[in-house]
Symmetry: C2
Subunit: 202 residues, 2 copies
């Protein structure tokens, strides 16, 4: 009965696993027969709340994670080149996404994919607003209008509200999916999530 | 060429995912055609080194994890009743395991399975040495000898050395597998690990 209801897909633009999920998203939608609603957010405020830190900065876990990013990408057949500067702040991509989404949701989704590929496959630093504008422009978005949008207090507030809303729903990692209220964290939970959808829970 | 070489299987007796892995271990060995070498360790010293904490004590992640323990167990067809007292200290099960292993490796493995089931399916507090002795005795282990063993400085030192050795190999979570030097953390990495073994890496 929820066949047409979107599955919420939360991600942070600096998250390797979020990037991998973004590359698996189209095939996932086909398999589950439901659209994904894309929601970028920021992990920084989450880390402050949970006392956690970026994976690569945690002793032991950091070295493992670096290895697992590339291995997971290879396993899923996704191009990956670990960024020289990592992790990065992603406020500019976040605001660009929500500014675009207000105008055209499909274009916002294409922009998210382009931003992710630029960072994780092409070695471009998407923390820089100028790089975000370059990528948006290449995707057919009005550079001048977006440039103004990135500095617009209303856009800043919208992006902040979306991040707050994600955290209020319990989103603490990337990627993070919510299916009819049921949360699934991580690329590695996708098979479980698909089984959950197919069987209507268990 | 590594067909007969054991895959190292590290686990903490207070870890729900380690318990689930213990219940999947026999079938996993059959599929990969290699034995698992069981190595209990302690997460406490790891948490001190990494600045991490037990999952259930982390804001946001804690509530998700509680839900995911039971959901993951159901998905894998493993009986699970979340323990009233959790997490627990597991020094007694750890020492009992290594004491037994010096005498009979197969019996130590059976003891580990019994201890895990007692804690995660039967509601028994295996942090208590008396409970560990009850479970060991029911499995055919000499209670009096094991009771003395738990207090033997040589056994304490052996158990400590095994924990130190695990951490020295980079083990920071439970379950944690090492295949020919390649580390895999989590029940959710088992499919990836199996593919790695099947294809000899990728």
């Amino acid at each position: 009965m929820n066949a047409a209801k979107p599955v919420d897909f939360y991600f942070e633009f600096s998250s390797p696993y979020g990037y991998i999920a973004s590359r698996l998203a189209d095939a996932l939608e086909q398999r589950i027969g439901r659209p994904l609603a894309w929601h970028p957010f920021l992990l920084g405020p989450v880390f402050k709340m949970t006392g956690q830190a970026p994976l690569v900065e945690i002793p032991m876990k950091g070295a493992y994670s670096r290895r697992d990013f590339e291995r997971s990408a290879r396993w899923h057949g996704v191009a990956y080149a670990h960024p020289a500067k990592f992790p990065i702040g992603t406020v500019a991509p976040l605001r660009a996404f929500y500014w675009t989404q207000q105008r055209d949701a499909a274009q916002a989704r294409r922009l998210a994919k382009s931003l992710y590929s630029a960072f994780f496959a092409e070695g471009r630093d998407i923390s820089a607003p100028a790089t975000v504008l370059d990528i948006a422009q290449a995707g057919g978005i009005d550079r001048t209008a977006l440039s103004a949008g990135l500095e617009d207090p209303a856009v800043k507030e919208l992006a902040k509200q979306r991040v707050d809303a994600a955290i209020a729903r319990g989103v603490f990692g990337s990627p993070f999916f919510i299916v009819d209220g049921e949360p699934f964290w991580g690329v590695d939970r996708i098979p479980m999530m698909e089984d959950w959808i197919r069987r209507g829970g268990w």
